[in-house]
């Protein structure tokens, strides 16, 4: 019985995929191997090409060059309906003139399934997403979360081998989003399908993914587990994109195995000499101390109590540095404060290329 729920998950192989819209190169040489049953998140800011990548996999846009395999089959030029893919859209794409039951049953109706089979399948799928009582309603009469579930039920009813989701949670309010996130993760593991999920929200990526692919301007920046991507970013962009509040950056130079900029000198044993580097550290890896006693001094800008913590923003040479302090922390009327950084969690990047520079001290 349990096994019947599981579709036959298939792997996806993307090989040097490119996409041009007229002269605009929106997806540059993307190569990805997605394992069967894996939950992969495509993460990036808007306009980075992540939605285009998803639409190429679905077959809604044609691939300019490169190849796409689902399972063992080359589907590069196959029409979407033959790819055995289900997709949940950001807008849910529910048909407003069809009831919930008709919406959920639509894929089966298109496959010319007998009416009785459709009815049982619809009921089963609806119960799976707890919509059993709403089958006769129209989408317009449902709340945002319920619409989301209808879209989900419509996707799972076919037991597709691949699931695609395009920012499915972005139209929900914050609280509901948290609940749906958990449900999605549970459902994916229960159904055992391959899932490619597009989002710009790094928290969704962190919580949902087995692996995260970070994209920027159509180029893959880093592919790895959420933990890898967070604690071992490949470049400046990934480092700045993951984490909230984001990583702090200070630009300077490396001289004599230490990072220097105006008023700051931080020893970094093993770091190669360089004129233009950016030093990064996360808000949770630095502390506010008395002026003069930390690695650097900075001007206090604001302190915000978020409930479980205090975010202190400071200004150093025009750039802002945020430190995450325990909720008991009080800044008082301090004008200048010192910042103490955890030497084990420093990141060094080449300012020009953005690439990570590894030194003994920065792993």
């Amino acid at each position: 019985m349990k096994n019947k729920d599981k579709g036959t998950a298939k792997s996806i192989s993307i090989r040097s995929m490119n996409k041009f819209f007229q002269a605009v190169h929106v997806l540059k040489d993307l190569s990805l191997e997605v394992q069967a049953g894996e939950f992969l998140v495509l993460l990036g800011p808007s306009g980075c090409g992540k939605s285009t990548a998803l639409r190429l996999i679905a077959g809604l846009e044609s691939i300019s060059s490169g190849e796409l395999f689902i399972g063992e089959t080359n589907v590069t030029n196959v029409l979407p309906k033959y790819r055995d893919i289900a997709m949940v859209f950001q807008s849910y794409a529910l048909y407003p003139h069809k009831t919930v039951a008709e919406n959920i049953g639509f894929p089966l109706k298109m496959a010319k399934t007998p009416k009785a089979d459709i009815d049982t399948a619809v009921l089963a799928a609806a119960q799976q997403v707890e919509l059993g009582d709403y089958l006769e309603r129209f989408p317009g009469q449902l709340s945002g979360g319920q619409r989301q579930r209808v879209a989900l039920a419509r996707a799972i009813i076919r037991r597709p081998s691949v699931f695609l989701m395009d920012e499915p949670l972005s139209n929900l309010d914050a609280k509901l989003r948290g609940n749906m996130r958990a449900e999605l993760k549970y459902m994916q593991s229960k159904l055992g399908v391959t899932m490619i999920y597009v989002t710009h929200d790094q928290i969704e990526a962190m919580t949902l993914a087995h692996r995260v692919a970070v994209l920027k301007d159509g180029t893959l920046q880093q592919l790895g587990t959420p933990k890898e991507v967070y604690s071992n970013p490949a470049n400046l962009f990934v480092a700045g994109f993951m984490g909230s509040p984001p990583m702090n950056f200070i630009s300077g130079a490396i001289d004599n195995e230490s990072f220097t900029t105006k008023g700051v000198k931080l020893p970094l044993p093993g770091a190669p000499k360089s004129n233009q580097v950016t030093l990064g550290f996360r808000p949770e890896d630095c502390r506010i101390v008395k002026a003069g006693s930390g690695a650097m001094d900075a001007e206090v800008y604001t302190a915000e109590l978020t409930g479980d913590q205090v975010l202190v923003t400071l200004q150093l040479h025009g750039s802002q540095i945020v430190s995450r302090m325990p909720k008991e922390f009080e800044i008082g009327d301090t004008q200048i404060a010192g910042i103490e950084v955890d030497a084990r969690h420093l990141y060094l990047f080449d300012s020009e290329s953005g690439l990570r520079i590894t030194a003994d001290s920065t792993r």
């Binding site: 679905a58 077959g59 809604l60 979407p80 309906k81 790819r83 893919i85 289900a86 997709m87 859209f89 950001q90 807008s91 794409a93 048909y95 407003p96 003139h97 639509f106 894929p107 298109m110 496959a111 419509r154 076919r158």
Partner: protein, 349 residues
């Protein structure tokens, strides 16, 4: 309620959100006067159809039962004495209008949908080549008496033989917008320009004075209207719905039937009404293409002009009334869609 009643002049609004009394008076006067201008001719039409010959000829009488005694003799003449002509023309008009509208809506909305969703890039040179061949064939058949089968076969062979080569030589591609403009611009053609060749065409295949000839002609005449209105309507439907259906295994026909048409009900209703009215009232083409059997209502009405007894105003009024009634009924039935449908077309176009 407790607000102090301010005394204001005629030219100031008595309360926030209201109109000044003077404005109101002017507005109502103008609108009522226009209503009278619109309604009076119709009122006159209705009462004339119930007047006796004497009541019409002896000068203006305005009020039934007071000025004159209403009589049904005009209606009797229409439905009893001349019932054959009346019913045939009425039947013809209904068959022709409904078939032509159905065909125009089907063909037109399919084309509009394709234009709004699929990218086309036809080669202009190939098209010009095609039209040139068409013209040459026309000249050959029409003027030099070449057998039309020979001419058509030659033209088709020539087209397929050279089209690719010519198309490859010159790449001047059209876009969807150009095709759309081409279709819509057909509406500029006054029917009088094309009606003579159409007449000769139907004459040569012996289809003159048949329903089919008029239906086909009306369909083409109204295609631009359908394409124009429905194109805007389809464009306002979000693409997500179709993409989702595509992934769910629907074909283009399935999407069109299951999703697009049901979602365009308002637009379809407004367009249908408009096209039915245009077909129902069409006069010039029917004048050319129907002589007797396929005669439509406008031709019947116009022909009543030529009677020996002068114009029989009473019968004429009755005929015009039965022409108006179905349109009014349709308008009332489709009323709730029309406002919506026209809005999209008008405001976006």
């Amino acid at each position: 309620m407790t607000k102090p009643a301010a005394r204001r002049s005629l030219f100031e609004p008595p309360d926030i959100g209201q109109m000044a009394t003077a404005t109101k008076i002017v507005l109502y006067t103008v609108l009522l006067a226009w209503s009278a201008f619109v309604l009076f001719p119709i009122y006159w039409l209705i009462i004339t159809s119930f007047k006796t010959i004497a009541a019409v000829n002896q000068g203006p009488y305005f009020l039934p039962w007071i000025d004159f005694e209403p009589s049904l003799h005009a209606w009797k003449e229409l439905f009893v004495n001349d019932y054959r002509d009346t019913f045939r023309a009425y039947f013809n008009s209904i068959v022709i209008s409904l078939s032509a509208t159905a065909l125009a809506i089907l063909v037109g909305s399919m084309a509009a949908y394709a234009l709004s969703r699929v990218k086309f890039a036809p080669n202009l040179i190939t098209i010009l080549y095609f039209v040139g061949l068409l013209a040459l064939t026309g000249v050959a058949v029409g003027i030099y008496d070449v057998d039309w089968r020979v001419a058509a076969a030659t033209a088709i062979a020539l087209f397929f033989f050279l089209a690719r080569a010519i198309g490859r030589l010159y790449q001047l591609r059209l876009q969807n917008g150009d095709i759309l403009f081409w279709i819509i611009s057909q509406r500029i053609l006054a029917p009088i320009v094309v009606v003579v060749p159409i007449y000769m065409m139907f004459q040569s295949v012996r289809l003159l004075d048949t329903h089919l000839a008029i239906i086909l002609t009306y369909t083409v005449i109204n295609l631009p209207v359908v394409v124009w209105l429905m194109y805007d309507f389809f464009n306002s439907i979000p693409r997500d719905l179709e993409e989702s259906a595509q992934l769910d295994g629907a074909t283009m026909i399935g999407i069109f039937r299951e999703i697009i048409l049901p979602l365009s009900r308002a637009g379809l209703a407004a367009t249908t009404l408009l096209v039915v009215i245009l077909c129902w009232n069409e006069y010039l083409l029917a004048l050319f293409l129907s002589t007797n059997k396929a005669q439509t209502m406008p031709i019947l009405v116009a022909a009543m002009n030529a009677g020996e007894r002068g114009i029989l105003w009473w019968t004429m009024s009755a005929v015009i009334m039965i022409m108006i009634i179905p349109v009014v009924i349709m308008a009332i039935l489709l009323q709730k869609y029309i406002a919506k449908g026209i809005l999209v077309g008008a405001v976006k176009g």
